[in-house]
Structure formats: C-alpha cells, structure tokens
Amino acid sequence: MARRKRNSKSRQKLQRGFAILALLALLALIILVAVLDRRVTQQFEGRRWTLPARVYAQPLELYAGQDLSSARFAQELERLGYIPQTPVDRPGTFRRKGDSVDVYVREFRFSDETQPAQKLHVGFDGEAIAALAGSNGADVPVFRLDPLLIGSIFPIHGEDRIIVSPAEVPPLLPDALKAVEDRKFDTHHGVNPLAILRAAFVNLRAGQVEQGGSTLTQQLVKSYFLDSRRTLRRKGEEAIMAFILESRFEKADIMNAYINEIYLGQDGRRAVHGFGLASQFYFGKPLAELNLPEVALLVAIVRGPSYYDPRRHAERALERRNLVLKVLADEGVVKRPEAARAMKAPLGITDNAGRSANYFPAFLDLVRRRLREDYPEEALTETGLVVFSTLDPLLQEKAELALSDELARQDQGSRKAARGLEGSMVVTTPQTGEVVAVVGGRRASFDGFNRALDMKRPIGSLAKPMVYLAALQSGRFTPASVVMDEPIELKLESGDVWKPNNYDKKIHGPVTLVRGLTQSYNLATVNLGLDVGLGPVAKTYVQLGLDEAPPKYPSILLGTAQLSPVEVAQMYNTLANGGFRSPLRAVRAVIDEHGKALKAPELEVTEAAPTEAVYTLDRMLIEVFERGTARPARKALPPGLVVAGKTGTSNDYRDSWFAGFSGGHVIVVWMGHDDNATTGLTGTTGALQAWTHLMASISTTSFEPLMPEAVEDRWIEFYSGQETSPYCSGSAVRMPFELGTVLNPNPACPPSTTPEEAALMQPPLPVVPNEDGVTAPADGAPRTSNPP
C-alpha cells in the first residue's frame, strides 16, 4: 500500500512537474507570440521604412524660343526613360517626326504642385523650340518635364528604396511573383508546410539547398524583421511572425509591403531595395512603365540579386528570366506567344558599368552638405524627403567630358609632369547663383575625394582681380592708371625677405592697370596692392562671398590664399553678377513624403561691391581673352561670344587654374597633382584648355552687362594709358571710366583723330613696339606673360 501510495505520489509529482513545465512552456510561447505580435503589428502598421531623401536634377523647361533641337530633346527624353513608340498612348512614351515631337508626359509631384500626366506637342524650328501645344491644341507657354532622379541620401551601407503604391505597380508583377515564388499565396496562412516538405525533399536529394520553401510572407518577415542568420530559432520565429502577419493583415497589404521591401541589388555601398528603385536602377524608368520581359527579369533577380546580377552575369540572368517567362506561361499568367516574344527581347538594362548612368557623386555630396545645414542626418536618410536640386545633367556630362578629355590629352602629351593629373570643375549660373555641375576628380563617377569641395590650393593669379577691384574701389585708380612693374623687396614679420618676380623674369616698367591685369604681371600687381593696402584687398574676398578674409600677408597679392574650386566659383560668380553676391545654391526646394514644402534656401542677392568698379574690372577681364593670358583660347571659342576670366598658376607650377564666365555660366577649373607635385602647366596651358572646351560646347550667352549710368566708354592706349582714337593703332582699347575722369590725350593720335587723318599718318604711327604678351604664341605657352 505504502509502496503504491508512494508510487502514485511520485507519479503525481511527475505529472504535476510536467503540467507545470507544459504550463511554463505555454506561457513562454504565449509571451513570445505576444511579444512578436506587438513587434510585427507595431512595425508593420506604422509601415516605417527608413526612406532616404530622393534627389532630383533640375527639370527641363520647355518654352518657345528655347535653345533645344528636336534631336536633343529626344535624347533628353530617352535619358528620362521615355520610350520612342507609335502610338504615343501611355505616359512615358514619345514620337519624334522631323521637327516635331509628341510626348506623353508622366505625372510628377513638384514642390509646388502635382503635374498630371498629359500629352504635349512640341514643334521645333531648327535649333530652337517654336511652339508647345497641349492635347486640346491650346498653346502652352511654358512646361517642365519630370526631372531626372539622380540619387538618394542614404546612410553608409544603407538601404535605398523608392516606395510605390499599389496603383503604381503593374498588375503583372504580383501575379508573376505568386506564380514563381509562392503559388499558394492567396490561400495559405503565412507558411506552406507542403512547400517546405517538398523543398526539404529536393534539397536532401540534391545534397544542397536548391529550393526554398519560404512563402512571400516568410521572405518579407525575414527581410523586414530579422537579420540574415539562419538558425532553427530564427526559422521558428519567422514562421510565427508570418502567421501573425497573415492573421492580422490583408493579403494585398502584405504583397505591397513585399514589393517595397525585398532586396534586389547592390550599387556600391547602396543596397537596392524594392521594385520601385530596382526599376530605376536597372531600367531607368518608373515601375509602372515596365513591360513583360522587364518585369520577368526583376522577378528573376529576387532569387539571387548577386548571382543573377544582369550587369555582371547577363547570360545567367537571361536564362533565369526566360525560365520565369516559361513559368508565367505554364501558370496561365501570360499567353504563350506573348511569353515567347518576350524571351527574344534583350535584357534592356540601362548600362553595363555596374553603376546607374546618372550618378554624380560630387554634386550629390554638395547637396548632402547643404541639406545638413538645415536638417538632422536622420531626417535626410530616413524620412523620405524629396529634394529638388540645381544640377543640369547635360551640362554635368559635358563638364566631366571636357575635363577627362583634357586630362587624357595631357597624359599623351610631351610634358611628363602633366601625366596622371587630377582635376576638378564647378559650374554656376551667375544671376541665380545656382551650382549646375560639379566634377570632383578624374573619375567623375567615383565617390571618393571631392576636390571641388575639399581640396584647398593656392589660387595663384586668380587672386589678381581682387587686387584690382580694391584699387578701383579706392577711387584712386582707373584702367588707364599707371603702376610700376619693378622689383620690390619686402621684409616680412618672420624676418625673411620676400622678392617676388615676374613670370617672364622681365621688368616692364610703367604699365597701365589694364595691361598689368590682363598680362598678369606680378610686380605691377604687388606694387599696386601695397599702394591700395592689404586690408582693402583682403576685404574684397569677403565682399565677393568668402566667409573669412585671408590673412593680410603681402603674398596674398599673388595668390597664396588657399581656396577650394567651389569657393573660387562663389567669388567669380559675384564678379559675373555685376557685384551682386548670391550665396551659391545646390537645392531649390525640399518637400516631405506627403508633398508639404519644407525649408530650403531661397534666391538671395546682396549688392556687395560698387557696380561701377565691378563693371570696370569685368571689362578688363574680357581683355584677358583679347590681349592677355587667355588669348590662345579665343580662336577655340564661338566667334562673337564675349567671355571674361583669369588664369592662375601657383608656385612651381603646382596648380593650374582658370576661372571665368560668359553671360550664362561661371566655370572654374583646377588641375594639379594630389601630392602637390609640379605639373609643368600654367593656367593657360592646362585649366584654360578644359575651360574653353566646355564653354564652347554648351548653350550660353555673351557676357554683356549694361554699362552703369555713372560710367562711359573711352579709348585709351593699352601701353601708356593716354586717351586716343581707335583709328591709329591696334593698341587702342576701349575701357569704361567714371564720368568726368581726366585722361591725358595721346599727342600723336588724340581722341579726335578721324580715320582719314589716321590714314594720312605716314607711317601710320611709330608707336608701340608690338611687345610681348600681345601676340601670344599659338600653342598657348605663356612665354611672354606672367604666371597667370
């Protein structure tokens, strides 16, 4: 009895133990489910993907009279992923027929309004737009195309995606995903045990993982909630979470989440997530516009974005795409002939460089930095802002080309020191102060050291205009004033003696301001600068837009101040803008993910320097191309295009600069070695070449500022500064002077000399030895002028 009692007691104990254990296990399970449920529901309902800010280029504006041919317009449309086809019956298509283009423009949400999808007829007249008409035939005065997406601001090693709504998804895509990845999607509860068993059987037989049994829901859970570790516990959690997701949410919601979540490729350190971005990444157009073979390719990539990377493994990707097409036909998603036709289509991806073609890292870097002034990092990388930037994609491409061509030319050239150079470019529009292109280095699509922003180098003779501006502002000098180009020795605070020299090692004696600047004479400039004072010279740097004045050492007169190309662009932009300073902008507008406009810098102008002084300086900078160090470039520019600028060469030819402008564009070019070695190049033989190449290849206007009212034009003799007549010699130059300026007349050829009188002078006038510098050698070697 006692024994039985004991037995039953121990059994009871055991049972109780089991019961408690089971209870505990159940409790643990309930807690686990509850915890997972909370997590799944909260995260999924909030649907908070971290959404990097999307950055767009400036849109192409269309209006009658705009400088754009039908051929170039068609190119621009293709860049935006528009497809040439007849009929033009859906957004994203166009047809070019001779001098007219019909285009079905996509819907796009700009910062101020949503522009609906619509048909547009554009008539051309040779190189310009003649007229625009809407689908009803009515005249359209101005229209902007949807802009080019140029990138996102994502955290390092971050995910990037473009969220699409169900309406933006072609119906084929979910059907195809179900047919290929999860045939029972519409009926299962998150897990498909049969599929798992089948997969296990296949894998067991093959001895390796050949088939996945995961439903779309499980794949979503794995990507959305879990890390990629493959442990049994993870598998359990995944199944439970998939079950929870299915019981709490609609199938359509889960499908949409899948389409936006799944990983589809790698672009450097950027992970491409979701079909919206994948469509842009592989095909350069919106998801809604993909055709059957394109959708099939994306579905094929789901299984292994790296293994089936269509850029690196085109054949593999093609084979799998065609397998997908076959499955779609087998499952009745598409008709067999359709699938057969699609199998013959090429992959159709945008380029095979492994990078999207429209990748401008140096410019994006500038955008990111400007945005950081107003927004915290998380706002940029997570909250789905939409950023409208100032980039002009066509100009950017031309800038990259102009620089790389010049660097390649130097690689092949006779100067050994100029091989393997680096370079950088910044392009702005003077009146609106917008940065339209940034090239950060020789390999423009390489996201590395951004020389345009981060490299600070001595600007050499680019500093001279600041000296002359200070002189003109002082009211004591005019272009005809004479300064001495003669040796000077300065004892510096350090005790050293500074003995600057001219580039040609010559001494030119008395020279006019206009000559001293255009021919870039160092000694004349130093003497002038010391006369004006280092304080006023340093102040002009701030006037023109630098945050801080350079230290007041005498050597700043010859450009020892170290600036980045973008800082130089800011200063020269103010010169090109008639002395009005506009802080350079890279961002036009920012909206949040709901379309609400947020903070963005507005166009600002400030009268920073007297219009008359800047106007006069600019006229002298035009002469740099006529009689100065940039003259070799003149013949490579379109005839009649008036431009102004300045060469710059730092000590020992370490840096070759050119900064200059037309009426529509400021271009700054730097060339040099990263290790600061000598290049053997001056501003003229290096940077000016790339500058000219770009200036000649873009659509721009002459630099023709209006003459201020307090100023008038007079002819002076380039060498003596005496007032003269234009008819006597080639060395007469027309310069602006404030009204009432007293000038000495040239005794041999006073201003009143008529052509007839000039012709009677036999010989025409003994004048002016055709001194060096005026006839610059054709190869551009600045034998005669100063380090520019």
């Binding site: 600002e604 009268e607 007032e723 008819y727 009143s752």
Partner: protein
C-alpha cells in the same frame, strides 16, 4: 578740312559703324563688343545733329581740357517686357501669392528668372514677393538688381525705385524712402 565738318564726319562714321569700330583694330570680331546694343555709347549715335549744332565742336574736343565730361544723354530704351513663358510664370506666381503660397510663388519666379535672368521686371516681381515675405532687405536688393538691368529704361527704373522706397519705408527708413520715391516719381513723369 574745317574742324566742324571733320567732327561731323567722325560722328557720322561713329553712327554708321555703331559700336564695332574696326578700321585699324587688329581683331575686329573680338573687340569687346560691350553691351553696347542696349546701353552703350549710343548717345552720340542717336542724336548727331543735336551734338553738332549745339557744341562748339573744336574746343570741346581738342582744347586743353579734353576730358571735361560731355553730359551724356543715355539712349532711351523701350520699357522692358516679359516673354510669354515668363508672363505665364508671373501670373502663376501672382495666383500663388494670393492663395498665400509664398514658397510656391518664389519657385515660379525662380523658374522665370532662369529663363530670363536679365529681365528687370522679374527682379522687381521677386522683390514684391520678398515684401510679402517680410524680407525687406532682400526686397531692396532685388530692386537694386533691377535698376542695374534697366539702364535707360525710365519706366522700369521708376518701378524699381518704387519697390526700394516701399522696402525702406517698411523698415522705418523714411527719409531714404522719400528720396527713393522722389526718384520713382521723377522717372515716372518722363
């Protein structure tokens, strides 16, 4: 040759050659063809008879003090107008201003300025918008920018001075505002 007729020949030649004076110039095509078309040395050109008839030409030009400024008549420039594209964008901006969408209006004017950056009317319009935005300093700057682009265009200059006057008054700078207003009225009357 009589001095008077010589002067006349010079002026006639100037008039016929316009701004591209070439005869002995080495590079005619690249001569700084200054903005002459709109505001340059035209004064002499536009009224040669007046000059010859009123000026004792000889001493004025060849006398001992040759550089005494001849009071120049700036050429009158036709009042600035907007291109159809800018006009459409300005109307759009005005509609946006009415709705209180000031950033939107700013964006529309930005677009117009990119198309016609040298049109003073657009800078005045932008200045008016900055007034609405209570950014009076920028309103004044836009007015001054417009002035620099409206040399010889009294009508537009008057509008720019009006804007500058308003921006000064808004900041309580009444004496300067009055001065600006006087300039606007003076130009407006002409």
């Amino acid at each position: 040759m009589l001095p008077l007729s010589r002067t006349f020949v010079a002026i006639a030649l100037l008039a016929s050659a316009g701004c591209s004076l070439q005869p002995f110039h080495t590079q005619p095509s690249t001569t700084p063809t200054r903005p002459a078309t709109q505001g340059g040395s035209g004064p002499v050109i536009s009224e040669p008879p007046t000059v010859t008839s009123t000026l004792p030409a000889e001493p004025a030009i060849q006398g001992p003090a040759p550089s005494i400024p001849v009071p120049r008549e700036r050429p009158k420039v036709a009042p600035a107008t907007l291109s159809p594209a800018s006009k459409a964008l300005v109307s759009q901006a005005q509609a946006q201003r009415k709705k209180g969408d000031l950033p939107g209006a700013s964006g529309s004017l930005d677009r117009a300025l990119r198309i016609e950056p040298n049109n003073p009317l657009l800078w005045i319009e932008m200045g008016r918008l900055r007034m609405d935005q209570r950014n009076y300093a920028q309103a004044e700057s836009m007015g001054r920018k417009a002035l620099s682009m409206a040399v010889g265009d009294n009508h537009t200059q008057a509008a720019a001075w009006q804007l500058i006057a308003d921006s000064l008054r808004a900041r309580g700078k009444n004496p300067q505002a009055k001065e600006a207003l006087d300039k606007a009225n003076e130009l407006g009357i002409q």
